[in-house]
């Protein structure tokens, strides 16, 4: 039977990760990370390549054994109760490969047959826009179609928890937005989702809460709004003026944290933005200068990442 609405208890913890450690030889892939995922939320692990996101998700899936710490998923230990757990979770790999000559409907029917509880293959194909491609061989699917099939495969057992490892990596922006819509549909179904990504906009758009990872450690955890607010970066103002003005004078304006000039424009980091804008207008009037253009940009998770790690995310 296909369950559109996963049954869940609001705010109960579905995944608990405590002080997780994992080494590959001398390399410490995970260095004591801890977080909980609540039932019904979309939780994101954000970080650059090599941050430890995939290792974390694979430990949660039961595919890898941790060297230390504990993990509980749906009340089960993935390392000890892997087969039972696999009945209750659905997962999508970073890249899903199936035999070239396997058809879309064959793949869905085959994988659905492995589970005690399975979703309707017909509805899944409809939901993921694969109905027209049902008889198409895997080798003839486009990148986006392959990814949609991978997502559909993650749902064949109508799982309580969906684990998505970099679901949009390598896709063009249009296909990426297509996948975003599908994942947003999971939210409507109140499914619990853990996704890893190194795309900032993906985490901001899709996730209820985000854990920022870097070099095997959790550097920040919260809702995107909380993280941005906590970062203290403020808004970024880009202004063009009728007459040039010294940077040292701009820095004296109330609320300006930092400023620099590039291509004839001035970039001000302001906190709070509203106070700075009012002060800026007063300052320009006193200088008989005019504001020709102004853009206001809110800080992003990328800014948070830079502030937390001192490095930019590598896409």
């Amino acid at each position: 039977m296909y369950l559109l609405m996963a049954t869940f208890e609001e705010n109960s913890i579905l995944v608990s990760v405590q002080n997780l450690h994992k080494h590959y030889g001398d390399l410490a892939a995970l260095r004591g990370i801890s977080f909980d995922i609540l039932q019904g939320e979309i939780f994101g692990l954000l970080g650059p390549n090599g941050a430890g996101k995939t290792t974390t998700i694979e430990i949660i899936e039961g595919l890898r054994q941790p060297d230390g710490g504990s993990v509980s998923v749906c009340g089960l230990d993935p390392a000890q109760e892997s087969m039972t757990l696999k009945q209750r979770i659905g997962a999508q790999l970073q890249s899903t490969v199936l035999p070239d000559k396997m058809r879309v409907d064959e793949a869905l029917h085959l994988f659905a047959s492995f589970y005690k509880r399975s979703a309707s293959v017909h509805l899944l194909m409809e939901q993921f826009g694969l109905e027209e491609k049902r008889h198409t061989f895997f080798e003839n699917l486009s990148g986006g179609q392959k990814q949609r099939l991978a997502l559909a495969l993650a749902l064949v057992n109508d799982p309580e928890l969906v684990l998505l490892d970099e679901p949009t990596v390598g896709l063009d922006p249009q296909l990426r937005r297509e996948i975003y819509s599908l994942i947003e549909h999971f939210r409507a179904e109140r499914r619990t989702v853990l996704l890893t990504t190194h795309y900032i906009e993906e985490a901001e758009r899709l996730c209820d809460r985000v854990a920022i990872m870097d070099r095997g450690q959790l550097v920040a955890l919260g809702t995107p709004r909380e993280l941005i607010a906590r970062s203290g970066q403020g808004a970024r103002l880009e202004i063009r003026l009728a007459k040039p003005v010294g940077l040292d004078r701009l820095k004296l304006i109330e609320g300006v944290i930092d400023c620099h000039e590039a291509d004839g424009a001035y970039f001000l980091h302001a906190q709070p933005a509203a106070v700075t804008i009012a002060a800026l207008v007063r300052f320009l009037e006193s200088q008989e200068n005019a504001l020709l253009e102004m853009h206001i940009a809110q800080p992003s998770l990328e800014d948070v990442f830079v502030e937390m790690t001192g490095r930019r995310m590598e896409h």
Partner: protein
């Protein structure tokens, strides 16, 4: 059931791949026609003899190049990773591969059987169930081989190397390509360690000699054991990801897989006369060719038919008997004129005696030799033939060219029956006519016997080139 579902889907995928279809169904047929036309020359009895090697070749091929490669390919391509997320284990994957391989084997063998019976009138001397049992055991055993190789290999290149090593060895040294009785004795000894030898000889025993399959139970047992070993190894060393490699130490453990063959090979080598069974099956090749001889087109090049000989004394002037007594042995032999000869002719020759153990437990040895002249038109010679009758021992026939009496030349085994039988040996098996054909001087024809102690008796008649 996941195992069956994956297996059935795998078969469907094979059916959609042209190359796989070719190697699964067309390629084995090509082999059957090559063996049946070029080697068996369309003779039904010989086709029955060659059917075993063709089936064994097919089973080996699908195990090494199908099943063995499949697991490595799945791992390298990453398709195993998707299965890993599902609630199924390595056993399901391996058993489904095994089952798909077996289910694909059955129609192929049926096609081979159909072609052999319809196009070459191959006699079916065994029941369907016996054939199915042999195919099942063979497929399982070689699947063990394929799975072991795919488990041990870390990459596809590695798997190719291992496959080729084992494949070529088994192909040429175990009766799959050349009948074992044609091969030197040391190769025959070595062949006793190879599983393909067991399967080929079992097929040839039941297909050509109508032997009950229970006569081959030790070989069958070893084949099944090796299949079980292979499956256990594959489960133990199974890897989902191509990044997971196994250590050299773990690879060495797979040597245990060869243990049943080692035991079997040693056991067969210590048996009194392990090659007799192969030679008995092989004798059908000689028998079968007689039946199709067309007297009108054959030009007999008679060497000896004994009909012009009046007394045994005259026979002794032409034939020389030697035994191991020359080297401190105790074997004895004599030749005598026999009346009547084969097919109601006047005379034949009887070589009779007793083999006794020589010094240091060496086997007894007796030979009868006579000088022969190779006809002037030696380029047209295809072989040597004679009528033979005797008890079920292995005898050898050899033909030594002039001035090469001291250098070793091949001796070909034959096993006479209780009644007169025609034995034919292609000249190429005996000597190299291109090198020696124009040499002047007499050649030496030698009929010899060696083996376990005891009486022996061999009647010979109508020795000729054909």
């Amino acid at each position: 059931m996941p195992t069956v579902r994956i297996a059935l889907l795998t078969i469907r995928l094979v059916m959609r791949t042209k190359l796989a279809l070719f190697f699964t169904f067309i390629f084995p047929l090509v082999f059957l026609f090559v063996y049946a036309v070029l080697i068996a020359r369309g003779k039904p009895e010989v086709v029955a003899y060659m059917f075993g090697p063709v089936v064994t070749l097919n089973i080996m091929g699908s195990s090494f190049w199908g099943l063995g490669r499949q697991s490595v390919t799945q791992r390298e391509q990453g398709s195993l990773r998707r299965y890993r997320l599902a609630p199924i284990g390595p056993g399901t994957i391996l058993l489904s591969n095994l089952l798909a391989n077996y289910l694909l084997e059955l129609p192929t063998i049926s096609l081979l059987l159909f072609s052999a019976v319809v196009f070459f009138h191959m006699p079916m001397k065994i029941g369907w169930l016996t054939l199915l049992a042999l195919v099942t055991v063979g497929t399982f055993a070689f699947a063990g081989f394929g799975l072991t190789i795919s488990s041990v290999a870390n990459t596809m290149q590695e798997a190719q190397i291992y496959n080729n090593l084992v494949w070529v060895t088994l192909l040429f040294l175990s009766g799959v390509t050349f009948p074992l009785p044609m091969l030197p004795r040391w190769v025959q000894r070595l062949a006793m360690f190879f599983p393909s030898t067991y399967l080929v000889s079992a097929f040839q025993g039941v297909m050509a000699q109508a032997e009950p399959v229970r006569n081959h139970w030790p070989e069958m047992l070893v084949l099944v054991t090796s299949g079980v070993f292979g499956l256990l190894f594959a489960m133990r060393l199974f890897r989902w990801e191509k990044e997971e490699k196994i250590s050299t130490k773990a690879k060495l453990w797979s040597g245990v897989f060869a243990l049943p063959f080692l035991v079997m090979g040693l056991w067969m080598n210590t048996r009194a006369d392990p090659t007799a069974m192969w030679a008995r099956s092989y004798s059908v090749v000689g028998q079968a060719t007689t039946t199709s001889l067309n007297p009108e087109t054959e030009k007999p090049n008679l060497i000896e038919n004994f009909d012009g000989i009046q007394a045994s004394e005259e026979l002794l002037r032409r034939w020389q008997v030697s035994t191991d007594s020359d080297v401190s042995g105790h074997s004895m032999a004599e030749i005598s004129l026999l009346t009547p000869g084969a097919e109601g002719r006047r005379h034949a020759m009887r070589l009779k005696g007793r083999l006794a153990p020589g010094p240091k437990d060496a086997q007894g040895y007796v030979s009868a030799r006579c000088e022969v002249r190779v006809p002037a038109n030696s380029k047209g010679l295809r072989g040597l033939e004679f009528e033979a009758r005797g008890e079920s021992r292995i005898y050898q026939v050899g033909l030594q060219p002039p001035k090469a009496a001291s250098s070793p030349h091949p001796a070909i085994n034959f096993v006479p029956g209780e009644d007169w039988q025609n034995v034919r040996v292609p000249i190429a098996w005996l000597t190299d006519l291109a090198t020696y054909g124009l040499a002047n001087g007499p050649w030496v024809l030698e009929i010899s016997v060696t083996g376990p102690p005891g009486e022996f008796s061999l009647d010979l008649d109508e020795i000729r080139f054909y």
